[in-house]
């Protein structure tokens, strides 16, 4: 049967067909849907982990115990999981083990566009890269076989356009895999004396993998009409090259990209007049090919930054551009993403922005769309606040640091960040914006929500209890929709010489409420409207930044889009004329 699938759906299907037993992940664009889809196959045990390091460690445990296992993450997630990655590169596996890295060239939803292919080389493990959904599905199975045959974890590297593009997939059936019996082995316990031996094996393994890379059908030649241009490419970049050159070039299409099949590349190069490497981001293949003494064209023509597309490849290599319609695009206004109508973060940030001499350290969740001065990485908001506060205090600036992060981020890596501020005693205010779900990536359960990926009830970890256990002396939980409560809460939190923790607890405006949510928060949703007789056109409500509000510059009146409004009442609280009222009242 044929079906249109995204690369992520195809990976999930491939995992099911290949008999995978265990899958773990922390959500992150563009990887999130891999686990969401794996969860629909009940033959696979699947879960959300609090972070990527934990997800990979759990998958390593599953592999050592003899199951086929995978951990999926976005590119920056692999930085978090790098510690176990490098060591499992030494130990090897028992059941096949895949580390799926979804990179984001073009930064559609990320803070950097790092090229994770370098991890395969650095950790000396095999790497596969699919270029469409069919390959994504098929390569999962092949990758697991390679993992077991060569005793290596495999880096399965995808990019946004492979993850999120749909293409046709021929479906197969599940082949049940028996769990491989667990036998206690030295390699699973890499103390220095054992690791020295393992390192030798790793170097031998890389040589064997390169031999495999030269032989495997994952790396194949497609001859074009002539042999003037030969293109080496992998991943979605191959599809772009194919789009531009069609039959007018020959291709060495690589699916197994570390170690590179250097003998095959050399042979291909010798049969074409000009060798071109078409790859997104870094010159990963090009550098290796040039180091092997094979002349080629690469990054001197193909851009190093951003994602590629057929236009960019065409212009770079052929010097031609598509004709476009001529019009003035300068009048188009920017449309940045914003906090949703009814977002519980809005009230908090509205009040926070009024405080003077503060530095807000945040990160990359939805709340990162609010005001912030500094953002580095998941969970960094608290520890960055701590370091900055120490120096501000030394310099006598009087500035106060406020770290903010969401509930999911707190569980991800905010707890150690909080501990840092507590242990080393900073006068920082640490705010957990607890919207009862993982928001930015589209509503995944987390350790605080009381539910698992499967939808089954799970242990719900209490953030205030954690803060207490960490040693925080001042802890307060508030309703962020009540602006007075927020203002008082922030003032309270800035009144100490030791760390204070403020928890804003209200569900994400888009969350499908659980029965516990309904008990706690009630059926609060409603629609507000503007009483135009009372509205004086002061625009105070507009300043809350709610996308449900609009202002008519001719009538000088505000209005509310009833399709978006959920009646959070933040705008009603800022209106000096009480002109915002419930519909039907």
């Amino acid at each position: 049967m044929k079906q249109l699938m995204t690369g992520n759906e195809a990976v999930a299907r491939g995992a099911w067909e290949a008999g995978v037993h265990f899958a773990s992940a922390y959500p992150g664009t563009p990887s999130t849907e891999i686990l969401e889809n794996i969860a629909t196959y009940k033959d696979i045990y699947s879960e959300w982990a609090p972070n990527e390091k934990v997800a990979l460690e759990a998958a390593i445990g599953a592999s050592f115990a003899g199951g086929r296992a995978l951990a999926a993450m976005k590119h920056v997630g692999l930085n978090v999981a790098a510690d176990p990655l490098f060591t499992v590169g030494y130990t090897g596996v028992n059941g096949g083990l895949l580390v799926i890295s979804c990179d984001d060239p073009g930064l559609h939803s990320s803070q950097d566009e790092q090229d994770n292919r370098h991890y395969a080389r650095a950790a000396k493990i095999g790497m596969l890269e699919p270029s469409n959904s069919q390959e994504a599905k098929d390569m999962i199975k092949i990758a697991l076989e390679i993992s077991e045959e060569f005793d290596t974890p495999i880096l399965f590297r995808m990019t946004t356009r492979v993850c999120h593009s749909k293409s046709i997939v021929e479906l197969g059936e599940r082949e049940e895999r028996q769990v491989i019996p667990y036998v206690k082995k030295d390699k699973f316990n890499p103390v220095p004396a054992i690791s020295k031996v393992l390192h030798t094996k790793v170097e031998e393994r890389i040589k064997k993998l390169e031999e495999f890379s030269n032989k495997t059908e994952l790396n194949y030649i497609e001859w074009g009409k002539d042999r003037k241009i030969g293109i080496v490419s992998a991943g979605v970049a191959y599809q772009y090259a194919k789009e531009v050159f069609g039959d007018n070039a020959s291709y060495l299409k690589l699916g197994f990209t570390y170690p590179l099949p250097m003998a095959k590349i050399r042979e291909f190069a010798s049969q074409v007049e000009q060798l071109i490497v078409v790859e997104e981001l870094d010159p990963f293949m090009e550098d290796a090919i040039k180091a092997a003494g094979i002349p080629c064209i690469g990054k001197e023509k193909i851009p190093l930054e951003g994602e590629l597309n057929p236009d960019i490849v065409r212009k770079a290599l052929l010097g031609v551009e598509n004709e476009t319609i001529k019009y003035d695009s300068s009048v188009v206004a920017k449309r940045p993403p914003v906090l949703c109508a009814g977002c519980p973060h809005r009230g908090f940030f509205y009040e926070l922005a009024k405080f003077k001499d503060i530095v807000i350290t945040s990160d990359i969740g939805c709340y990162g769309l609010g005001p912030k001065d500094i953002a580095i990485c998941m969970g960094g908001g608290f520890s960055v606040a701590h370091g900055a506060q120490k120096v501000f205090n030394m310099a006598g600036t009087g500035k106060r640091c406020i770290g903010v992060m969401g509930d999911s981020t707190f569980f991800h890596s905010g707890i150690t960040s909080m501990l840092e501020a507590v242990y080393n005693n900073s006068n920082v205010l640490l705010v957990v914006l607890d919207n009862r779900i993982t928001g930015m990536t589209g509503h995944q359960e987390n350790p605080g929500t009381g539910y698992a990926l499967s939808g089954e009830p799970a242990n719900a970890t209490d953030i205030a209890e954690i803060a207490k256990a960490v040693g925080v002396k001042h802890i307060k939980t508030i309703n962020p929709l009540k602006l007075d409560e927020v203002k008082e809460g922030i003032k309270w939190g800035l009144g100490f010489d030791t760390p204070a923790v403020l928890i804003t607890r209200w569900p994400c405006a888009l969350k499908k409420l659980s029965k516990e949510d309904k008990q706690e928060f009630g059926d609060y949703k409603a629609v507000n409207k503007v009483d135009t007789d009372k509205c004086i056109g002061c625009r105070m409500c507009i300043k809350t930044g709610c996308p449900a509000l609009a202002f008519n510059s001719e009538t000088k009146k505000a209005s509310i889009d009833r399709n978006q409004c959920i009646g959070c009442d933040v705008c009603a609280q800022v209106c000096p004329k009480k002109a915002i009222v419930r519909e039907g009242k």
Binding site: S109, H164, K166, Q239, D311, T324, V332, R335, P336, L339
Partner: protein
């Protein structure tokens, strides 16, 4: 079935561009076309500008297209038509929804929303303007606006003979099938 056709759907996060393109690609697949579709998740869901690309034909390589390549641009919001107009091939069609959504920057008074966006699009390309919100509201639910626009696209791309009934049944909840079928027909009629 030889030449690859390219379709661009653009709008604002939450307007249902992704569902419309899913229905479209499902019908194309059932009709035997090679199909690729590209969408972006994540930040774009938070009221940002969104674009989906659908390509179909005999052999489709790249899931995305570049500038000047789309045979048709369907804009769910007026200014978004102007933003993505460079994706249209000269001679291509535009379907634009007569629906304006302010942006965070225009609401804050940092820049002006171009109220003449539709006029500008009309001046640049062959354009059909639809009041999809009005049509969908008359059918009973403003949210079916996306399927009204899909209907216009279907008609203009001469895809009326595909099995839309089955595609809609596959992609939407049973309770919304009838509404969406009506919306599709209304969209087709609006540009007939």
């Amino acid at each position: 079935m030889s030449e690859v056709k390219n379709i661009l759907l653009c709008g604002v996060g939450g307007q249902g561009t992704i569902l419309a393109s899913r229905i479209l690609s499902t019908a194309l697949l059932s009709a035997g076309y090679g199909v690729k579709m590209s969408e972006i998740h994540g930040m774009s869901q938070r009221g940002g500008s969104v674009v989906t690309q659908v390509r179909y034909g005999d052999k489709v390589a790249s899931p995305i297209i570049g500038k000047g390549s789309a045979h048709i641009l369907v804009a769910f919001e007026a200014m978004e038509a102007l933003r993505y107009l460079e994706g249209l091939a000269p001679g291509g069609h535009v379907v634009v929804n007569n629906y304006m959504m302010p942006t965070a920057t225009t609401l804050a008074g940092q820049e002006e929303y171009p109220l003449d966006a539709i006029e500008r699009v009309k001046a640049a390309a062959d354009t059909k303007v639809l009041d999809a919100a009005k049509i969908a509201t008359e059918l009973g639910n403003a949210k079916a606006m996306n399927i009204v626009l899909l209907g216009a696209l279907v008609k203009l791309m001469k895809l009326d003979n595909l099995d839309w009934d089955a595609a809609i049944r596959e992609c939407v909840k049973p309770a919304f099938v009838e509404l969406n079928l009506k919306a599709l027909k209304a969209g087709m009629d609006a540009v007939a």
